[in-house]
Chain length 203, copies 2
């Protein structure tokens, strides 16, 4: 169990359900969804397969809960960072700093959340897509505000919003705990890069 | 067998070895490396497991060949795009256009190449890391040239080069053949975004 994954699922109760999600994140990250058995997940949580089924009916339900928590966390980070009455540039920088840092700190969860979407049921996938749209909408709104206020110069707002999110999400792929940069440093660099992508003139 | 993967492995001979690589790309993309059997790969190539072993001793060797071909292709694209005597801005735009477009066109291969690295043997992984460093070096060189010529304003050249590559690689994650944008359109948008990230003043 890595400390990394602990905080994201802190709100999940009871404790057994939370430990199963952590075991599933670890197993999916190491072996992929299809190569992981519910027996393996239960074992990592120190439980029997029968005890697992009390909390999750299928392996797919574990994946969905991981994806849901991860995506709800993304929406929350975006809402929190873009709330308030800062300038569009301040809100964009704050949002990107939080979002990039989260994907560094939670890179194992981030990889599972991003790479295993195809294994979700159609209905669960649709729920996740709604959360992704919400995250995109928030970021697009900040870019639109900045264009309206003259802070930003963006031709393709939709494409630029997607690219900024994509840049942050991909941190989960390449980040290693022994990386040259800390999650915080990555957040600061990426906030600057996002302002540049938005055509913000510094100073 | 998708047309997408066909061209990347066009140089692999004999034909049976090439068909096995295509089968492996498809299987790894669908099920992940660990959930894929050599029997499954052989079946997708219309061959027996015994026939597979004539060409590849292990499943890991298939993954390594896929990764090697994919990464060599990346190095080649970068070399080709940045050769010649264009300005740094022209070379950066050309490189990013090619690299982003490749990851859209070859998104299935791109995902396998990027997501399954952890399954490589230590020795094979080291070979792939050398190819990745080569790609990074080429892009960093273009940014350095542009800073030296006054075309670009970049504080953190290493971090910016990695971010530009990361942005392009992540296209393989989100691109769908029915996406709103064509691979060409993504390449054009991303070339513009990379110039912005490099602090290039248009016009």
């Amino acid at each position: 169990m890595t400390a990394e994954t602990d905080e994201s699922f802190g709100d999940v109760t009871p404790d057994a359900a939370r430990r199963l999600l952590l075991g599933a994140v670890e197993a999916f990250a190491e072996r992929g969804f299809h190569a992981t058995t519910t027996r393996d997940i239960a074992g990592r949580a120190g439980m029997s397969p029968a005890a697992l089924y009390i909390h999750y009916k299928t392996k797919e339900e574990l994946l969905f809960q991981i994806s849901r928590v991860g995506h709800e966390r993304s929406v929350h980070l975006m809402e929190e960072a873009t709330a308030g009455d800062g300038s569009a540039a301040e809100r964009l920088a704050h949002a990107v700093r939080s979002f990039a840092r989260w994907h560094a700190e939670h890179h194992t969860t981030g990889r599972v959340v991003q790479y295993e979407l195809a294994a979700l049921s159609e209905q669960h996938y649709a729920q996740i897509v709604r959360l992704r749209r919400r995250t995109e909408d928030i970021l697009r709104g900040v870019l639109q505000d900045g264009v309206a206020s003259g802070e930003f110069a963006v031709g393709d707002i939709r494409g630029t919003a997607l690219a900024v999110l994509s840049l942050c999400v991909d941190v989960a792929r390449w980040f290693r705990p022994d990386s040259r940069r800390t999650p915080d440093e990555i957040g600061v660099l990426y906030a600057d890069l996002a302002l540049r992508m938005a055509g913000h003139r510094a100073g």
